[in-house]
């Protein structure tokens, strides 16, 4: 593991995705419909990666984009919707009609899949949970084993450890070693980074290692879990990033309307993703003024202490 214990992990988003996200690999993403790594998903689509198995808790835009772009073979997770805006148009087209391809779906609950990442991070084969019992989730998902607790005899559900090939996690700031600091909720990110074989950190800001040491208890993911560090300002847009920018609900709403129609979705994808060279191009198309306003709004409510 010593190759991970260095300070030379900084690279471009293109380099990180090319190196670690390969056709047919399994992947998980940090955030929880907030602090999502949207910019990394755009780059995965630009590079034409295929046949991903996504193991995750709850996702909105990112999975809708990946499935619509035809990058996903299989989903193991708990929630694929569009929050208060509605159902996810590309997810529906894929599962109901096989357009552009039919993804395999394995349903879990959020607590159930959380326990899979916890087991992965602990390097034990499974974890026990009181969720999902008595329902159709274990009926259709044979990897959930309902057992009797060997000590007390009560029913309990066992879920297998998740070990995705790659985790991509967006954070507020990290250093070149990969120490990643997070403000706000943390989702399952600490466990995803530990369960995955490789972890890419994308961040709003790169700071010095001295700066990290200044508030070490904010380091959610320590350097030894991390393979690549990439600075991607506004990397969650249109989702929010605590202390940096607010959720762009109007942009999301426009996407959602467009994505209801396959042709309009493809035009959206071409404009914002495929014909953008990189994330800065995307930001320019969204409009820097708009992004700055979202930052102003967020900082009215949440300011990260300097």
């Amino acid at each position: 593991m010593t190759e991970r214990n260095c300070s030379g992990k900084q690279m471009s988003l293109q380099q990180a995705i090319k190196k670690y996200v390969t056709d047919g690999c399994s992947i998980t993403f940090g955030g929880f419909i907030g602090r999502d790594c949207v910019a990394a998903v755009h780059e995965i689509i630009r590079q034409g990666v295929k046949d991903l198995t996504v193991i995750d808790d709850s996702k909105t835009d990112m999975m809708d984009l990946l499935v619509g772009a035809g990058a996903v073979k299989r989903w193991e997770g708990a929630y694929l919707g569009y929050g208060a805006i509605g159902l996810a148009p590309n997810i529906r087209r894929s599962i109901e009609k096989g357009i552009p391809s039919k993804i395999e779906v394995e349903d879990w609950s959020n607590a159930g899949i959380s326990m899979r990442f916890l087991a992965g991070s602990l390097n034990v084969p499974f974890m026990a949970t009181r969720s999902m019992l008595g329902t159709d989730i274990p009926k259709y998902n044979e990897r959930i084993k309902v057992m009797h607790d060997p000590y007390e005899g009560e029913p309990i559900a066992l879920v297998p450890a998740a070990h995705p090939d790659v985790a991509i996690i967006h954070v507020q700031r990290a250093d070149a070693m990969g120490n990643a600091q997070v403000w706000g909720f943390t989702g399952n990110d600490e466990n995803k980074a530990r369960a995955a074989k490789h972890t890419i950190i994308t961040c709003e800001e790169i700071v010095t290692t001295d700066e990290i040491r200044h508030q070490g208890n904010l380091t959610l993911i320590p350097f030894y879990c991390v393979d690549a560090v990439v600075q991607v300002p506004y990397g969650c847009h249109p989702q929010s990033c605590y202390g940096y920018y607010a959720y762009d609900v109007l942009f999301c709403g426009d996407y959602h309307e467009a994505a209801k129609d396959r042709e309009k979705f493809l035009k959206w994808l071409d404009h914002y993703v495929l014909s953008s060279q990189n994330h800065l191009d995307y930001c320019a198309k969204v409009g820097w003024d708009r992004l700055h306003k979202l930052m102003g709004m967020e900082r009215h409510f949440n300011r990260i202490p300097g």
Binding site: G86, A111, R130, G134, A246
Partner: protein
């Protein structure tokens, strides 16, 4: 006094808000439940603490959340932690009440948020819904559950296509305990036309309260089984001006309850930011 106008969604949010008690800890899901939580905090339950599955415990509710992981869900929180930790705290019995939406519900309060089969089964359903999210976990492990959904045809069914979230399962006396579930199951079902509760012995859903201008016959015609009606059927009164003001301030741009039409009626991002900050109390 002139008649107060309100929408069905506003009445649902107010009715749900009343299910929260002051000082309770409530685990709240996406959508109108979020508005109900803010309304309760601003109205009768200022010490209500809300928990979101993203890992936010006890935020100040300055602005509406479109997702449980919006940065707004963390505004002024008492504790910001992880998803697996809050679900574990739920399983350990710390949370009093959960609020859930659903696409389908059956007479024992079991919920479907996974798929409407439409005769085509689980793998190629007529409508693929989001899946459990944290819904199953709330239904499995929390003290009591309030369900919110509109009373529309084919939503209140004898048997759900896919049982995502447990209510009273087959309704038998110890069904939840036998399955290994904690929590006491669903306590109320809030709709746009009526409020339903569950019989303590049979666990069957019954009509508890009807809303103004709605008849028992209309409700029965929308429910897919022979619905029982409470002997002391209650009639809800119109919401008060204060209640409506609280719910409107909780969703000031009407974006949760008004959907795409409300988004399109805004002139743009500037107006959205202005109205949000103006109504935030911060």
């Amino acid at each position: 006094m002139s008649e107060i106008k309100y929408t069905a969604s506003e009445l649902m949010a107010i009715t749900t808000a009343k299910e929260f008690k002051d000082w309770e800890v409530a685990f709240v899901g996406i959508g109108i439940p979020l508005v109900a939580g803010i309304t309760a905090k601003r109205f009768h339950a200022p010490n209500l603490n809300i928990v979101y599955e993203s890992g936010c415990i006890g935020p100040q509710k300055y602005r509406v959340d479109f997702n449980v992981g919006d940065s707004s869900a963390a505004d002024g929180a008492l504790c910001l932690t992880s998803e697996w930790r809050v679900f574990s705290d739920m399983q350990a019995g710390y949370y009093d009440v959960g609020v859930l939406g659903a696409a389908q519900i059956d007479k024992f309060g079991n919920l479907n948020t996974t798929a409407i089969f439409g005769g085509q089964g689980y793998c190629s359903p007529k409508v693929r819904l989001p899946g459990s999210g944290g819904g199953n976990d709330i239904g499995s492990n929390i003290g009591r559950v309030v369900v919110m959904l509109r009373l529309e045809p084919l939503r209140f069914v004898e048997k759900v296509d896919y049982l995502t979230t447990p209510g009273f399962l087959d309704g038998s006396p110890d069904a939840r305990k036998k399955a290994g579930l904690l929590g006491s199951g669903p306590a109320a079902v809030v709709t746009d036309k009526a409020l339903f509760r569950f019989d303590s012995i049979t666990h069957e859903m019954y009509l508890d309260t009807i809303y103004p201008g709605v008849s028992v016959e209309e409700i029965k015609s929308l429910v897919g089984w022979d619905l029982k009606v409470a002997a002391d059927l209650k009639k809800a009164s119109d919401p008060t001006a204060e209640e409506l003001a609280a719910v409107r301030a909780a969703d000031p741009a009407n974006l949760i309850m008004g959907g795409a039409a409300a988004r399109n009626s805004l002139s743009g991002l500037d107006e959205y930011i202005d109205v949000t900050i103006k109504n935030s109390g911060k």
